[in-house]
């Protein structure tokens, strides 16, 4: 069994890199946090997987993730295409999800798109939302990042963002949704603690996302983006109600995502 090598990309304004590294390393991966400035010259191809962590890359100027999305597309365009084609996994968390959407890597219905096919718009509440949410696992097996979860499984994680309302262009909403479903690209939807979909209701759906979408993958299942932060729900003591339990559990639900990734890389 090999030790997977994971690149955690950062630029000015990235800020969830350390805890993301701690999570994957705890599972036996060997990760490196690398500034985009140091990732030129084919270096990306020496890694088995890429994670774009949360934060405010370039201050979220223009739109969250827009500047880094463009930078990634221009600076790493060839390597990135190859990376995706070789089905090396890419995970985007929060700001990373925004970057993947802005750079056309998600939803990427028919391969990497030259322009964004969706966007993560300003929250319906018009403010930053830091809270815990329930997610229902929707994927039928394509997404390699949720292989440790059952379809329909409900998990608990925290979100923290001001721009997380996943939307498609209005006129293509239905068509794109059908594609997501058909291609098995839907991964997580917001639901309440009993597992019933939020149906847009705040704060169960914390941002007003279309169809309660919290995370999607590409049509290969190897590129995955989500607004919630699995690295903030890795240890049991990170839970918001662990003090009310008989004993704090060792791990929390977010671990399942990193576990799925590392297991995929190991085999």
């Amino acid at each position: 069994m090999k030790e997977p090598k994971i690149c955690i990309l950062r630029v000015g304004g990235t800020n969830c890199d350390a805890e993301t590294k701690a999570a994957v390393d705890d599972l036996g991966a060997r990760s490196e946090i690398l500034h985009l400035n140091k990732l030129m010259d084919d270096k990306l191809m020496s890694y088995d997987a890429l994670i774009i962590p949360g934060g405010f890359s370039y201050g979220d100027h223009v739109r969250a993730g827009a500047v880094l999305g463009k930078k990634v597309s221009s600076a790493l365009s060839k390597e990135l295409k190859k990376f995706v084609e070789e089905e090396r996994p890419i995970l985007g968390i929060c700001n990373g999800f925004q970057v993947l959407v802005e750079s056309g890597l998600l939803p990427a219905f028919d391969g990497v798109s030259d322009y964004p096919q969706a966007t993560l718009a300003i929250n319906g509440s018009a403010r930053y939302e830091c809270r815990w949410v329930y997610l229902k696992h929707e994927n039928r097996g394509k997404c390699i990042f949720t292989r440790e979860l059952q379809k329909g499984q409900k998990i608990f994680m925290s979100v923290a963002h001001a721009e997380g309302r996943f939307v498609f262009p209005k006129e293509r909403e239905e068509k794109y949704l059908q594609k997501l479903e058909k291609n098995d690209q839907l991964v997580f939807r917001y639901c309440n603690k009993r597992g019933i979909y939020a149906d847009g209701r705040y704060p169960i759906n914390p941002n007003g996302a279309f169809y309660d979408i919290a995370g999607i993958c590409d049509s290969n299942g190897t590129v995955f983006g989500l607004m919630p932060h699995p690295e903030r729900a890795y240890w049991g003591v990170q839970l918001p109600d662990w003090t009310g339990m008989k004993e704090a559990p060792k791990y929390a639900d977010g671990r399942l995502i990193f576990e799925s990734l590392v297991e995929y890389l190991k085999h």
Binding site: G12, G13, N15, C16, A18, E19, A22, H35, N37, K38, G54, G55, F56, Y58, G59, D60, R127, Y128, E129, C130, R131, S158, A160, A162, H229, E231, R232, Y234, W235, V237, Q238, P240, D241, W242, T243, G244, A248
Partner: protein, 792 residues
């Protein structure tokens, strides 16, 4: 005025100021015209100094003195001498730092000397903590003022080589429903200030990826014209990497954002009262925030620290480069020569004095041995941060500034850091207050629900959720905790991957008591901060003091300040908790008058194993609920009185010896595993504390007031026992079967007053055995959650 100045024959604009020939009127004119905010004694000291030198000063030299000697930078009131009766006291030396000196605990690593206080954490790490005020900028420009306040205190933490791990923000505003018509010209509405400040704090902390984990919001009439914005930051550093050894030959590096005209005269602005014209005159004093710049700066600085490349560091805050360079030179017994044209600027044509004192944000000052300079500049470059070598340290005792080859400033450090001592006299005079005669209302349930929705008690959820309090993944006791987001007494962080040790952060502030008695206000704040820390399992507590006060040149303000400082000494000494850092913000006055004396005490504790942390929510039906601590008829300044528009006089006092016993018994009970939930009694007293424990959970509770240990002095009334805000009290949920052990441990001043119930009912039996409160946890929750949202 031109007869006072003469332009020097240089290729750029520097003036010679004709100080030597100036009389009293002219000296004051110069101080005013150059916005130096120096008084006549200080101007005379300058004149005397330059007379000895045999020359007139340049404008840049006088600006430097103005900055360095300002209340904001030098804290002349705290360092000065005050005549109290026949006794001479110095607030800082005789009260605040005296606690630490007398206790001198071995775990205090650096106190009061550096940008932040530093205490041992264990496992080779130290905790750094600092709290700052940014009141005046926030009054003028709420978003920018608050954001730069956060940015500034984060740099204080970087300025001791620590990684920022948590932000703390304690705020004070006027009532949100204040009448627009009642606002004097130039004063912005509390709602506008509130929204801007909250957004500014969230924006900076969120963007930098530092969780905002603790704080408070207080509403008081006296904050209408002058809001209170305390910004705090806590950091973590490996003890061995705390380096302060600047030597002659080292190079001065200025790194971060470019220098601009934003933030000129910020410190002198902070050291004067707010007036109708403040907006127009002082708008340039508010800096512009760019958190991403500081995020990059943080990366570079921590890298430089880990590689051990620099010999010293400080942040650029009040007074900009002039204060940073001078302070480092002073601290390391060196001379410094700065080549001012090397500082990267936002735009050309800035005047030398502007570059020198600008308070533009996101800048740090490092001292680097020559052999490491290339690597240091490379690290900054890798992070896309601009950095420049702007000067060099040499042997000696002077500050020199050269601009394009011409010397424009040459001052002796002894003079610069030895301003004339402020001497003041006070006479004590307390306000004339009376106790209101309230008849007890029959509907105490309604009173409780109203109190839960009161601005100073209601849920802060609508604010807290806009702050990222989870980033870095270490916040294990959150500001909103449990199934229903209850209000924990303190936040806990677990900053090290391989250790269960935690940092416990809590606050105490009681502005309402400040209206009655500054001494008891201060003791209450000290005890409340400690009490909150202890309630979640914190111990080995260090304190930070932050004063927001009115003009100290006014007798009643100064005498209140002396009282509060004395209280700080006496209470902190009694608890054995040293002060490690502090800051005073004086001159908090507007056309509406001074702010109520406001002392914020921040407590930094540790918990050896975070798995023992205690949260506020009750947890198990049939568990026993105890009250620990004695209740007195102390409703002066209480939220109960405020509900009826009263202030009163019977402010909560501190019985230090008893309090100490109560606190240590709580810690022991937590460590022994008897405690399932714990909450301190503060605003709203016993009733509100019990309600908060219930509304945070799925369960209910039944309580009985008849057993509450109380010394009511003939004032035995249900409402007084329910709502008195006496200090040193806790409500504790004790696990079933552990009652006897718990009682044996606590010994005195406790009572079993009820139990957790399976249903969500909340009942209280009064002194006559009748149900006086009858409601449900759902109703309590609704009232508490609705309070602030309706008004904001």
């Amino acid at each position: 005025m031109s007869f006072l100045y003469k332009r020097k024959e240089l290729p750029f604009e520097v003036f010679e100021v004709k100080l030597l020939g100036a009389g009293k009127e002219q000296l004051l004119q110069i101080s005013q015209k150059l916005a130096l905010a120096l008084n006549i004694e200080e101007m005379r000291a300058c004149k005397q100094y330059f007379s000895k030198k045999g020359r007139n000063p340049t404008d840049i030299e006088l600006q430097t003195i103005g900055q360095t000697w300002s209340e904001h930078c030098y804290h002349k009131t705290f360092k000065g001498e005050i005549l109290v009766g026949k006794r001479k006291v110095r607030l800082f030396k005789d009260f605040i730092s005296r606690v630490t000196k007398e206790l001198s605990p071995p775990w205090c690593i650096s106190v009061f000397e550096d940008n932040a206080g530093i205490v041992d954490f264990g496992d080779g790490y130290a905790i750094a903590a600092k709290v700052e005020t940014h009141n005046h900028p926030s009054a003028i420009e709420p978003f920018g003022g608050a954001a730069t306040g956060v940015g500034g205190v984060i740099r204080d933490i970087l300025g001791v080589w620590a990684k920022p791990i948590a932000n703390i923000d304690v705020l004070g505003f006027g009532p949100l429903d204040y009448k627009y018509k009642a606002l004097p010209a130039g004063v912005k509405h509390p709602k506008y200030i509130f929204r801007g400040v909250v957004a500014g704090i969230g924006s900076y902390g969120n963007n930098m990826g530092i969780p905002t984990v603790s704080g408070g919001i207080y509403f008081d009439e006296s904050y209408v014209g002058n809001p209170v914005v305390y910004c705090g930051c806590v950091g973590l550093l490996p003890i061995g990497e705390y380096v302060k050894e600047t030597k002659p030959g080292d190079i001065a590096v200025l790194a971060g954002g470019r220098t601009g005209r934003d933030g000129i005269h910020g410190v002198t602005f902070a050291s004067a009262e707010l007036t109708e014209e403040s907006e127009e005159i002082s708008r340039p004093a508010v800096q512009i925030a760019d958190p991403i710049e500081e995020e990059k700066l943080r990366r570079a600085i921590l890298q430089i620290r880990d590689e051990g490349l620099a010999s010293g560091i400080t942040d650029l805050g009040g007074g900009g480069l002039s204060c940073a360079a001078g302070e480092v030179a002073n601290r390391s017994n060196c001379s410094i020569q700065i080549e001012l044209e090397k500082a990267p600027l936002k735009y050309p044509n800035m005047l030398p004095w502007e570059i020198w004192i600008s308070e533009s944000q996101e800048r740090m000052f490092l001292t680097v041995p020559g052999k490491n300079i290339q690597r240091v500049l490379e690290i900054f470059d890798d992070e896309d941060v601009e950095a420049a070598a702007v000067g060099r340290f040499t042997q000696g005792n002077t500050v020199k500034v050269v601009y394009h080859g011409h010397e424009v400033l040459n001052l002796d450090i002894d003079f610069l850091f030895g301003p004339p001592m402020v001497r003041r006299t006070i006479k004590r005079k307390g306000p004339k207050l009376t106790e209101p005669r309230l008849s007890q209302t029959s509907n105490l349930t309604e009173v409780l629900l109203k109190l839960l929705a009161a601005p100073n008690i209601a849920s802060r959820e609508s604010v807290v959720r806009t702050y990222d309090h989870e980033v870095q993944g270490n916040t294990i006791l959150k500001p909103l905790h449990g199934k229903h987001g209850g209000p924990n007494d303190a936040a806990i962080l677990k900053p090290l991957q391989d250790s269960w040790r935690g940092v416990v952060i809590s606050c105490g502030m009681n502005p309402s008591y400040g209206r009655i008695d500054p001494y008891w206000m201060a003791t209450s704040s000290v005890e409340e901060a400690i009490r909150n820390n202890v309630a979640v399992g914190g111990r080995r507590i260090a304190l930070l003091d932050n004063f927001t006060w009115g003009n100290p040149e006014k007798m009643e303000q100064l005498s209140a300040l002396v009282e509060a400082c004395k209280a700080c000494y006496e209470s902190a000494r009694a608890f054995g908790t040293p002060f490690i850092s502090g800051k005073d913000s004086l001159y908090n006055e507007s056309p509406l008058g001074p702010v109520t004396p406001t002392l914020l005490v921040t407590a930094i504790g540790i918990i050896p194993d975070i798995r023992r942390a205690i949260s506020v929510d009750i947890k198990e039906p049939s568990d026993a609920i105890y009250i620990v601590g004695r209740t007195y008829p102390e409703l002066g300044g209480s939220e109960y009185y405020r509900l009826f528009g009263e202030v009163g006089r019977s402010v909560p006092k501190l019985h230090a010896a008893k309090a100490k016993k109560v606190l240590s018994s709580i810690t022991k009970a937590i460590d022994a595993g008897y405690v399932r939930a714990c909450h301190d009694l503060s605003e709203g007293g016993l009733a509100v504390a019990a309600a908060e424990m219930v509304l945070s959970s799925d369960y209910g509770a039944e309580l009985d007031l008849r057993k509450v240990p109380a010394s009511m002095n003939g004032m035995v009334r249900d409402d007084f026992i329910l709502f008195s805000e006496s200090n040193s009290r806790f409500l504790v949920e004790v696990a079933r079967g552990k009652e006897k052990k718990f009682e044996k441990l606590v010994k005195s001043d406790f009572a079993l007053i009820g139990e957790v119930s399976e249903t969500d009912g909340f009942f209280v039996r009064g002194l006559k055995g009748r149900k006086i409160i009858d409601t449900s946890s759902r109703k309590l929750r609704e009232a508490w959650r609705g309070g602030l949202d309706h008004k904001s």
